[in-house]
């Protein structure tokens, strides 16, 4: 009874402390901006940012829609490709040996450096954005799944074999569910990267999207709107990560830690 109370208390302080830190940060920001320590036109106060967010809300919403569609299409395609690669590489060891170093090397190329090329190749529509996101998402998904498959318990696999399980059954009942933990960990990172990837490729050319909005408000030195869109992007990333957590809970009911 007492320990439960204590735990609850700890839980609230766990949530209270970061909230307090954010509040203090916002307050300092407000003061710095209002007193003119940093000029208003360079650093609008949080209140002004909020106001800009409200006035531009319909526009932001419309642009978010484009960015989110790109993100989701890229995300799903990237997960699909990553999953496929991981399965093939797990099933056929020579392919794994041949491809693994290549995949690692491709990861040393910053995706941002590829974005202009993709625009040149595929134009200003959605295609280059989706491709960039696929490239970003593919790697963490493929590697985490592959490591997950690898880490499957050898004795469990022997036991499954002794029960006459086929390769596909072993994959379905042992390897795949065993890799979910790592998969979701990497997916959490992948979703926020995907949002950022969409925005960056929109910077380089496009007709709509938060990245396009950003370049537009930047050109007009609308700092308040700039901050508004930055916060919106981070809020979207957070929301997606939250979604991944929900999905994880749904997909892994045996995991009692969360």
């Amino acid at each position: 009874m007492f320990s439960r109370l204590k735990k609850k208390l700890l839980n609230t302080t766990d949530k209270l402390l970061p909230a307090l830190a954010i509040l203090i940060l916002l307050a300092v920001w407000e003061i710095v901006s209002d007193t003119g320590i940093v000029p208003k036109y360079m650093l609008p106060s949080p209140v002004e940012v909020a106001q800009a967010f409200v006035t531009d809300f319909p526009l932001l919403l419309e642009n978010s829609r484009t960015t989110l569609i790109e993100t989701f299409v890229g995300l799903f395609a990237g997960i699909g490709v990553g999953f496929l690669f991981a399965v093939i590489m797990d099933m056929f060891k020579p392919i794994r040996k041949a491809l693994y170093p290549l995949i690692v090397i491709t990861q040393t190329i910053p995706p941002v450096a590829l974005a202009p090329l993709l625009v040149l190749w595929f134009g200003y529509e959605m295609t280059p954005k989706v491709i960039l996101i696929v490239l970003i998402v593919f790697f963490p998904v493929a590697v985490s799944l592959l490591d997950g498959y690898e880490s499957a318990d050898k004795d469990t696999i022997s036991l499954m074999r002794s029960m006459g399980a086929t390769k596909v059954q072993i994959f379905r009942y042992v390897k795949f569910p065993g890799a979910l933990e790592q998969f979701f960990a990497s997916l959490k990172i992948a979703v926020s990267y995907a949002v950022v990837g969409a925005v960056i490729s929109e910077w380089l050319g496009g007709f709509q999207g938060l990245g396009v909005y950003m370049t537009r408000v930047k050109k007009s030195y609308a700092f308040d709107k700039m901050f508004a869109v930055i916060f919106l992007i981070s809020a979207l990333s957070l929301l997606l990560m939250f979604g991944v957590n929900l999905l994880k809970k749904k997909c892994m009911p045996w995991d009692k830690r969360n």
């Binding site: 022997s158 002794s162 006459g164 065993g178 045996w254």
Partner: protein, 254 residues
């Protein structure tokens, strides 16, 4: 006809040094035979051969008159670790053998309910292995083994990871269940007490390469089924086995 017959089985990993040599053994219906030997004697290797996971150098494994040498999927196998899949509920875990052989999930779940009750696992159907105690998990693992084949099972030190008190409890439970379900079993252990308490026969696996050097038949006095381990007969068996293991082990260290 014997349930399981093992004829002249030898096995080596590199083709030269035998790990086990000329193993001959047969298990009759409802019989429980223990294989007793020190760690590293090749007990588990022998089981891998019998289960078909490894192909022997020579010899054959015959189940119900059918030669199944090197073919997995004919005999159920249970290991020291329960190896329940952590991401499946208990009922889905014990139903796994049925699902693997093509039964639909719903029908498989239905089919295992009776066994769940019989094995004293009622109420754990929807729980995950992580929520159960070691003893209960081991029961579930045994039920899964039984659901694969109710005929004959290989049990590789199934109780050795349990604490002494739980182990004692599990032994009496195991004997009750065995006599009820009439399972034939080969049982690996390095625990002499456990072997005497549970088995109908004990095979001593000694030497290098290991072979069966002695078969001791255990006669449990009817009047002392539960407290067999406290009877003078029990101690007599223990003395015989210890002497044999000791003498043979000094002759050629296993």
């Amino acid at each position: 006809m014997s349930k399981l017959e093992i004829k002249n089985v030898s096995f080596s990993y590199d083709g030269k040094t035998d790990i086990i040599k000329d193993i001959n053994l047969s298990v009759e219906k409802g019989e429980l035979i223990s294989i007793l030997g020190k760690s590293g004697c090749g007990k588990t290797t022998l089981f891998n051969v019998i289960s078909g996971l490894k192909r022997p150098k020579t010899g054959s494994v015959i189940i119900d008159g059918e030669d199944v040498t090197g073919k997995p999927g004919h005999i159920s196998y249970m290991l020291q670790k329960d190896l329940l899949l952590p991401y499946r509920t208990i009922e889905d875990n014990v139903a796994l053998p049925l699902i693997l052989s093509g039964t639909k999930k719903k029908a498989a779940r239905q089919a295992v309910q009776d066994g769940i009750r019989r094995f004293g696992l009622d109420g754990t159907q929807k729980k995950y292995p992580g929520e159960l105690s070691g003893g209960m998990r081991q029961r579930a693992a045994l039920l899964r083994t039984y659901n694969f084949s109710g005929e004959i099972a290989l049990l590789d030190e199934p109780f050795s990871a349990l604490d002494t008190l739980t182990k004692g409890e599990m032994h009496s439970w195991f004997l009750d269940v065995m006599s009820e379900i009439k399972l034939s079993a080969l049982f690996i252990t390095h625990d002499i007490d456990e072997a005497i308490f549970l088995s109908d026969k004990i095979c001593l696996l000694t030497g290098k390469p290991s072979s069966i050097t002695d078969i001791i038949e255990i006669k449990r006095p009817e009047s002392h089924k539960k407290d067999f381990s406290l009877t003078p007969e029990f101690l007599e068996y223990k003395k015989t086995i210890t002497e044999k293991l000791f003498v043979e082990n000094t002759a050629d260290m296993c």
